[in-house]
């Protein structure tokens, strides 16, 4: 391990003291942040040659995973196995009724690590619980599920915690959709795996009613995910498609808009700038993965791996991109085009975006990553949603807020040009006006058209709702206001949401 200079140590000690004495962090948030600060003093990774250059310029970012990762970033446990065999380490038998099933899950969730120390995937709740729910009266099942959901919201204080529903209709799903409307809570995040050939229209419309009330469940293009990942996938964290019984070791991202600023024009970008950056980023990811797999002892000692709830065979890693719009717009100007020829409004600009994504995709498909067994020893591309400190960089491949096309159909077809690059997730969010709220089938028609055109993952939300989708995760508008007023709030994602509201104008998307 390399020595540290005293300035770094002193800076960290100051940040530790700031954390301890903070008036806006809860106790649990302080403990979590302190562990991150401790790991920030580590220097155990063999970093690629140019990484620090990209890091200092804010071009490559490891998204707070720390200097010595002690667990995979995202874990997607096999909950079917838990219900089939129980868990020896946690002394849990296979559940026999709904009470036992929910108790088993609540215990298990508290032992599923992630980058935030909270579980980012809590199962396909409807298929998982349906056999138990069907043995109960509707009222009894609803009461138990209500307590379960409240328990989640108050103890998993992190809106990256993600539940899945669908694609089939179910009584459990129906109850959860009703409860979500009633509870108005940010946790858990939720997706419905939607397949127009399988999901009945009336059930999808019920999900849309809930989505318009609480910005969830988002709609995931199930046939698209299945074609890439197979039937055994889950949507975790923001909208990450990952294999069940596995997950993602790491997520590193490149801010393409900032990268473009280091190029003289698009020729320079393709010949010199982009190849070095993505090679550096892939090497960084491989080094992080190597530490987790070979040095951290996680897979040798953690009960999730020992008992088969996760297996290295199902793990991958996420190669994230941010700011394609700003990248394209910068290069277009440098190539002599005008402001009118910009991303989302010009075919030339969009084609440049496609060429950039094709280049990254081609690199990824030839780059060998030893331990990514879940994805053919390659990374999976990911359209990252941005973080609270991003400014001037649009999430993933989105068109910048305030520059949206006039027609929603043009906006969706633009998204469809790019969503296919990202098996490990990307998505878009569209606020709708009040006339749409009374007509869920209006939204369903749009979703059907969008998915048939190639969109991957969509949220339509009421621009006046309290629970809002910030970029991929959820927050309550009322909690943002509380935090902005200087009060501590329960969920750490509220901190991210407030930053995004101020830096990325997420409350100002064009209503449709």
């Amino acid at each position: 391990m390399k020595p540290l200079d005293s300035k770094t140590v002193e800076n960290t000690r100051e940040r530790i003291l700031d954390t301890i004495t903070s008036v806006t962090l809860t106790h649990e948030q302080k403990v979590s942040n302190l562990s991150g600060l401790a790991v920030s003093l580590m220097d155990v990774l063999d970093l690629p040659e140019h990484y620090l250059y990209y890091k200092d310029k804010g071009i490559i970012c490891d998204l707070n995973e720390g200097n010595a990762p002690l667990r995979p970033r995202y874990i997607v446990p096999d909950y079917d196995l838990l219900f089939e065999k129980g868990c020896a380490f946690l002394k849990l038998s296979p559940p026999t009724d709904l009470q036992e099933a929910l108790n088993t899950l609540l215990i298990f969730y508290k032992h599923v690590p992630s980058v935030t120390n909270f579980p980012v995937y809590i199962g396909n709740l409807d298929t998982l619980l349906e056999p138990f729910v069907l043995k109960e009266s509707y009222e009894s099942a609803k009461k138990q599920l209500r307590l379960f959901l409240i328990h989640l919201d108050r103890t998993i204080t992190d809106a990256f915690c993600h539940a899945n529903l669908g694609p089939q209709a179910s009584v459990t799903g129906q109850i959860i959709l009703e409860l979500e409307r009633e509870l108005q809570d940010a946790v858990p995040n939720m997706s419905i795996k939607y397949d127009p050939a399988v999901t009945p229209d009336d059930y999808a419309e019920e999900a849309i009613k809930t989505m318009l009330a609480v910005s969830k469940p988002a709609f995931a293009n199930h046939p698209m995910f299945v074609s890439e990942l197979g039937e055994r996938y889950g949507i975790a964290s923001c909208y990450n498609g990952l294999l069940i019984g596995g997950g993602a070791y790491t997520l590193v991202r490149v801010l393409l808009g900032r990268l473009a600023q280091t190029a003289t024009d698009s020729k320079d970008f393709f010949e010199r700038v982009l190849p070095d950056c993505i090679e550096t980023m892939a090497s960084l990811m491989d080094e992080r993965i190597k530490f987790i797999v070979e040095d951290s002892n996680f897979f040798e000692t953690n009960f999730l791996a020992q008992e088969g709830f996760i297996r290295k065979d199902n793990f991958s890693a996420m190669f994230g991109i941010v700011g394609l719009a700003e990248c394209v717009n910068d290069l277009m100007l440098k190539d002599g085009y005008t402001h009118a020829d910009r991303y989302g409004h010009s075919e030339i600009a969009d084609n440049l975006g496609i060429k950039i994504m094709d280049t990254i995709d081609a690199f990824n498909s030839t780059h060998h990553s030893e331990y990514c067994y879940g994805s053919g020893q390659h990374h999976l591309l990911h359209g990252q949603v941005g973080i609270e400190t991003d400014s001037g960089q649009s999430p993933t491949v989105r068109i910048p807020i305030h520059d949206e096309p006039a027609e929603l159909s043009d906006h969706l077809l633009h998204a469809a040009k790019f969503h296919h690059y990202f098996p490990s997730g990307t998505g878009d969010i569209f606020p709708v006006e009040s006339t749409a709220l009374k007509n869920p089938s209006f939204i369903l028609d749009i979703i059907k058209g969008a998915f048939a055109s190639g969109c991957r993952y969509l949220t339509f939300e009421d621009s006046n709702a309290d629970v809002i989708r910030v970029t991929g995760y959820l927050a309550k508008r009322s909690e943002l206001e509380k935090l902005d007023g200087g009060d501590a709030v329960l969920q750490n994602t509220t901190y991210f949401g407030l930053g995004a509201a101020k830096e990325s104008k997420i409350l100002e998307r064009k209503p449709r």
Binding site: S409, T435, K438, S441, D445, I446, G449, A452
Partner: protein, 236 residues
């Protein structure tokens, strides 16, 4: 030379003109002259802002929006005044797999036009007033054909909804809502939409005569419509 329609405007996505998401084509010109009309610029047969468009031009303008809608609605003005273009537009819509809806003031006798009925999936019909003399005062037109159309379309299961604009100073709202609800009570798939009068867009000379309804009035009319047999009632 291909035929052309006089088009006021085209909306690619609408949540309020029939089931699901629909593209809406507004045709210029109306044979009524209702005081409460909120888009009176569409009444004249000729307008500086309307455009003469062929059927192909109409669908070109809807463009990629077609992928996201389950159908089209042709509205107005009064679209049946351009009946031949309606036939052309609906023929092309059907070829594209789209459902075809008409938004009409009810003055056109649908029973005498089998070709149009065959090409039309459903109609949204204005029932402005059930009393004929009152209707003549409000719309400058008899309502005899409107009431006949309720049965023509209802019996074919092609009556998606009837709607009435509610203003307490316009007419005897209770009488119209009760009577209209009785007339659609035998058509379980027809809903009754009660529209609150709003002054937006209404011509200045009528504004002082028309009052917006209270929530209590809308609620009592909803109850009245349901009591008189309307299968469902929507208030907007």
């Amino acid at each position: 030379m291909p035929n052309t329609a006089n088009v006021t405007k085209i909306i690619r996505f609408s949540a309020v003109d029939g089931p699901g998401n629909r593209a809406v084509i507004f045709l210029q010109g109306c044979n009524y002259n209702c005081s409460f009309c909120h888009n009176p610029e569409t009444i004249a047969q000729r307008s500086e802002t309307s455009r003469w468009m062929t059927c192909d031009e109409i669908f070109t303008e809807i463009g990629s929006g077609i992928k996201f809608v389950r159908g089209i609605t042709v509205s107005g003005g009064e679209c049946t005044l351009q009946r031949d273009m309606l036939i052309e537009i609906f023929t092309q819509a059907r070829q594209l797999g789209l459902t075809t809806y008409i938004d009409s003031n009810g003055s056109y006798d649908f029973s005498k036009d089998q070709e149009l009925l065959d090409l039309t999936d459903s109609v949204m019909l204005d029932v402005k007033c059930t009393d004929d003399s009152e209707h003549r005062r409000i719309a400058a037109f008899t309502n005899a054909i409107v009431l006949k159309n309720i049965d023509t379309l209802g019996s074919l299961d092609k009556l998606y909804e009837i709607r009435t604009v509610i203003s307490p100073t316009l007419m005897d709202c209770e009488q119209t809502v009760g009577e209209a609800a009785r007339r659609i009570s035998i058509y379980p798939n027809t809903r009754y939409k009660l529209i609150k009068y709003r002054p937006n867009g209404v011509r200045m000379q009528y504004i002082r005569d028309l009052k917006t309804p209270t929530p209590a009035l809308m609620s009592s009319l909803e109850t009245l419509a349901l009591e008189n047999g309307a299968a469902s009632v929507i208030i907007t």
